[in-house]
């Protein structure tokens, strides 16, 4: 049993790992960015759906523009979430 593992060498030394203040700040920035981006995305989805309800309640000639703007906000919220997840 011991024969399988006896030649394995682990070069990882926990004492050599150093976490700087900048790393901690980066971690918190990333975590908060994702949380807030996610909350804003949920808000944008709800608002886009609610805009549909508003449009059905009161139909005007300009409802198309209003729906487009709501969709743009939703797309922006998706871009922010992707930015927070992958680019920061």
């Amino acid at each position: 049993m011991g024969g399988i593992f006896e030649n394995l060498q682990f070069n990882f030394d926990i004492t050599q790992v150093s976490i700087t203040d900048a790393d901690i700040a980066f971690f918190f920035f990333k975590a908060f960015s994702i949380v807030f981006a996610l909350l804003f995305f949920i808000y944008s989805v709800i608002l886009a759906r609610q805009t549909g309800v508003l449009k059905d309640t009161l139909s005007t000639e300009n409802n198309g523009i209003i729906m487009v703007v709501s969709q743009v906000q939703l797309i922006a919220s998706v871009l922010i979430l992707l930015y927070a997840l992958f680019l920061i």
């Binding site: 920035f29 960015s33 807030f36 981006a37 804003f40 808000y43 944008s44 709800i46 608002l47 609610q50 805009t51 309800v53 508003l54 059905d56 309640t57 009161l58 139909s59 005007t60 000639e61 300009n62 209003i66 703007v69 709501s70 906000q73 922006a76 919220s77 871009l79 922010i80 930015y83 927070a84 680019l87 920061i88």
Partner: protein
């Protein structure tokens, strides 16, 4: 009544014979008047939006000392979208919170924080009294105020807040009901 011409533009707060449709509208029901809050009452949120934009520009002077370029781009992008969202929800509330006078009924559509819909309806024949009240100094200066529609029977009372030219609207509704 006969002198009233059609006037319906995108951002009108008082439109006669507007080209709109309501989901609660009856088949032969014609919309005569559309009332939104007076535009001057929307100035506070417009000023807030501009103020937030200026704060964002000022904050950008300090950001490079604390954040990387990538983080600064994210902060700016997020802040711009948040400021826009604030302005947009206020615009939606103003645009869709309307009072409507038709040839049959008076309809008040309210959206609490845009999320909760409340529609109050009163039939013209049930209207007992329509009264107007000026909305303070600004209301007197810019000619806007409150309109109260008292009803009898099962219909609930209706009020239009910050309506433009309230005395004219009251006169107009009174002509319809009598």
């Amino acid at each position: 009544m006969d002198q009233v011409k059609q006037s319906s533009r995108f951002l009108d707060s008082l439109s006669f014979y507007p080209r709109i449709k309501l989901d609660v509208q009856h088949k032969d029901e014609n919309i005569i008047l559309l009332i939104r809050e007076h535009p001057i009452t929307q100035v506070p949120w417009i000023i807030n939006t501009i103020g937030l934009g200026i704060i964002l520009v000022l904050v950008n002077v300090l950001l490079p000392q604390f954040f990387t370029i990538n983080q600064i781009i994210f902060i700016n992008f997020f802040a711009i979208v948040l400021i826009f969202a604030y302005a947009w929800i206020n615009f939606l509330r103003w645009y869709f919170e309307v009072g409507v006078v038709t040839n049959e009924r008076i309809i008040d559509i309210d959206f609490k924080s845009v999320l909760y819909k409340e529609v109050s309806i009163a039939k013209l024949e049930n209207i007992q009294e329509v009264s107007a009240k000026s909305a303070g100094y600004l209301g007197t200066l810019f000619n806007y105020g409150y309109i109260y529609v008292q009803t009898s029977g099962a219909d609930i009372d209706i009020e239009f807040l910050n309506a433009p030219d309230p005395s004219y609207v009251v006169k107009f509704i009174n002509k319809l009901t009598h």
